[in-house]
């Protein structure tokens, strides 16, 4: 079958298996063929991290059971294919929330571990891996192992943020947090330019429960970096009732020309003006704040059949002002039709050898796949490098092996664990081959690029 990332720019013809029980996983690991195996969860990573062109893919969606929950501590054990949406539907009415929520609730817990995802509260609580107590996994040789950070520190750090390359995650134990209600008080304010934005984000990073900035990436000149800052707190005097939102869905691919600099900048201007000049405060359902885009099913179709790229990087605090400015200047002058960009602060390094976060400012930009966009992504990546930053692998499309190894200084530790648990290279992905994650020897002469247009 043909699989794609959420951006629909990377495609791969794969041999897929969809286990419905744990013992099926061992059977799949028993024969991974010549091109290895990677786990594919909900398919919400943008690029090629969960693809394995011409190889095997294990779809984890049917491994979706919650196995234990302790009301006293909030500790939960669940299978790797459980989604955040299910966890929220089940536990929010009981006053518990996932400690870290990625931008979409349709991601799986396994994917959250493998990409060590972060949310709008990273400064205060870290990334998902920071809340993992232990997990069970099938190593590439089929051995079942329970991993916790104390007894297996190396394997733990290689698996959290490890891009699925250390084996197949089966169950994950982590701690949920208690929340006083299912509703949030969201404060929104207009920010006129980038400097003001960075100041505002830094000012709230330690105090707000959640904070996120939405930037008009087409604004330039004096209004470069203008946008809306949202900060949010859980309300204490609201009910815990949770009703799944009514969702609309994009029924088909929009034609490629729909998103052009004019329509996008009109939308962005509207989005900016929506918030009154003096700002506003309102109450919102927690899931509506945490996952705004989940209200529109299959929103990736608005970019048309050719798909889109998402670029996300983090730049360390001291270089952030300069670095983010350069990135935005390039993005806005390219007129590449980037929709709302997201600006957030991150609090510190994750627990994984390949965890994305570092203390700094992170910027995410969408670009419809057009001629010249990959070159643009290369330029953004180079600027990120220059400012000591890092590109998020769950979204990356253009990183080179050299850039990757410089951005991720703990790569050698990661490789050492891989050599140990997967000497034959049974776990592979298009990303691992593209970035030579396992080392120089990984490159496969027959490998083609998965960054191509969908098969007709």
């Amino acid at each position: 079958m043909t699989l794609t990332g959420w951006g629909r720019t990377a495609w791969a013809g794969v041999t897929a298996a969809r286990p419905e029980r744990i013992r099926d996983v061992y059977e799949i690991l028993g024969d991974v063929g010549d091109d290895g195996l990677i786990v594919h969860g909900a398919g919400r990573s943008y690029g090629d991290v969960a693809l394995n062109r011409d190889g095997r893919v294990l779809l984890s969606e049917r491994l979706d059971r919650i196995l234990a929950f302790d009301e006293a501590t909030g500790e939960i054990v669940c299978e790797a294919g459980v989604t955040f949406a299910e966890l929220i539907e089940t536990f929010l009415p009981r006053g518990f929330l996932v400690p870290v929520a990625p931008g979409t609730s349709f991601a799986t817990v396994g994917g959250a571990v493998a990409n060590d995802v972060h949310g709008k509260n990273h400064d205060r609580v870290g990334s998902f891996g920071d809340h993992v107590r232990w997990f069970e996994m099938a190593l590439p040789d089929g051995q079942l192992i329970r991993v916790d950070p104390d007894t297996q520190p190396g394997l733990f750090a290689a698996t959290v943020g490890g891009l699925g390359l250390t084996g197949v995650l089966l169950t994950v134990c982590f701690r949920m947090v208690t929340v006083p209600s299912a509703r949030m008080e969201v404060e929104e304010s207009r920010i006129p330019d980038l400097d003001a934005f960075l100041d505002a984000l830094v000012a709230v990073r330690e105090t707000a429960d959640y904070s996120v900035g939405w930037i008009d990436a087409l604004a330039s000149g004096a209004s470069l970096g203008r946008g809306i800052l949202q900060t949010a707190f859980f309300k204490t005097d609201a009910p815990a009732t949770f009703r799944p939102r009514r969702r609309i869905s994009v029924p088909a691919d929009l034609p490629g020309w729909v998103l052009n600099p004019v329509t996008v900048s009109t939308f962005n201007r509207f989005y900016f003006r929506r918030v009154p000049e003096e700002g506003r405060t309102g109450e919102r359902a927690a899931d509506a704040f945490l996952f705004p885009l989940d209200a529109v099913g299959r929103w990736n179709r608005i970019y048309g059949r050719r798909g889109f790229y998402q670029f996300q990087c983090v730049i360390p605090d001291d270089a952030a002002g300069d670095g983010i400015r350069k990135l935005l200047e390039i993005a806005s002058s390219a007129r590449a039709g980037s929709f709302l960009a997201v600006l957030k602060t991150l609090g510190g390094e994750g627990r994984g050898f390949l965890s994305f976060p570092m203390r700094g400012v992170t910027l995410a930009l969408d670009f419809p796949a057009r001629r010249g966009v990959r070159e643009l992504l290369h330029r953004l990546t180079d600027i990120t490098m220059l400012h000591g930053g890092r590109v998020y692998l769950a979204k990356d499309a253009v990183l080179t092996p050299e850039q990757f190894s410089e951005m991720y200084p703990r790569l050698d530790d990661f490789r050492a664990v891989l050599r140990d648990v997967d000497p034959d290279g049974r776990m592979r992905s298009d990303l691992s081959r593209r970035l030579h994650i396992r080392g120089e020897g990984e490159w496969r002469a027959t490998a083609g690029s998965s960054w191509a247009h969908p098969p007709a």
């Binding site: 419905e20 029980r21 744990i22 196995l67 234990a68 089940t90």
Partner: protein
Amino acid sequence: MAGDCWLILGASSSIARAFARAVAERGDRVLLAGRDQDDLARTAADLGIRYGVECEILEFDALAFDRHADFAALVEARAFGSLNVFLAFGTMVDQSQIDRSPSLARLVLDTNLGGAISILSHLAPVMEAQGKGRIVVIGSVAGDRGRRANHVYGAAKAGLHAYCQGLRARLFRSGVTLTTIKPGFVDTSMTWGLPGLFLVASPAACARACLRHADRGAGVRYVPAFWWGIMTTIRLIPEPLFKRLSI
């Protein structure tokens, strides 16, 4: 203890798992029966945490005919409230594999037909004594007409259909309903990777339809419903023509 209790036979299958969620969501108690106890324990834990229902697991093997009587007695003892049965076990062996090793035919017949008839025959008196309750049996459109591509499986499901017709008439007299569900293409491990599928239903949608039909005490239902049209057409094709077709 009041309320409904569902015995789910073959509870590791995806339709059965979805059905268990559907009944647990409305608060019914669940008895999960099957061979893979570790897997059933996981499903039981999931139902308990998500829906707060009591859930028990029982060892059941469709081929262990000599233990079916004891199993039925155990179910009678464990079922609190009103017992209902959802029979979802079955095995589909590729016809070409059976053609190569004909002894596999017996496995298909024993599981899908013999095992089902045996356990239903043992459970029928329990249901009759209760004087109410629902039985849902997962049949197959394959039983509507013997096709070259899977006629052993089809024969088993056709036999099961006939058995259920008779059992339905028997149980009707004591207020128990039996609903035969004939799923078309449902996205399960049985259909996974098969070529030529269309309008595939999710296990959850199939399970909801099963429950809806069971609640109404329906007799035979296709799920999704349009399969009635497809299968009626296929049944009407004259045999001299049908044998030449590669349907």
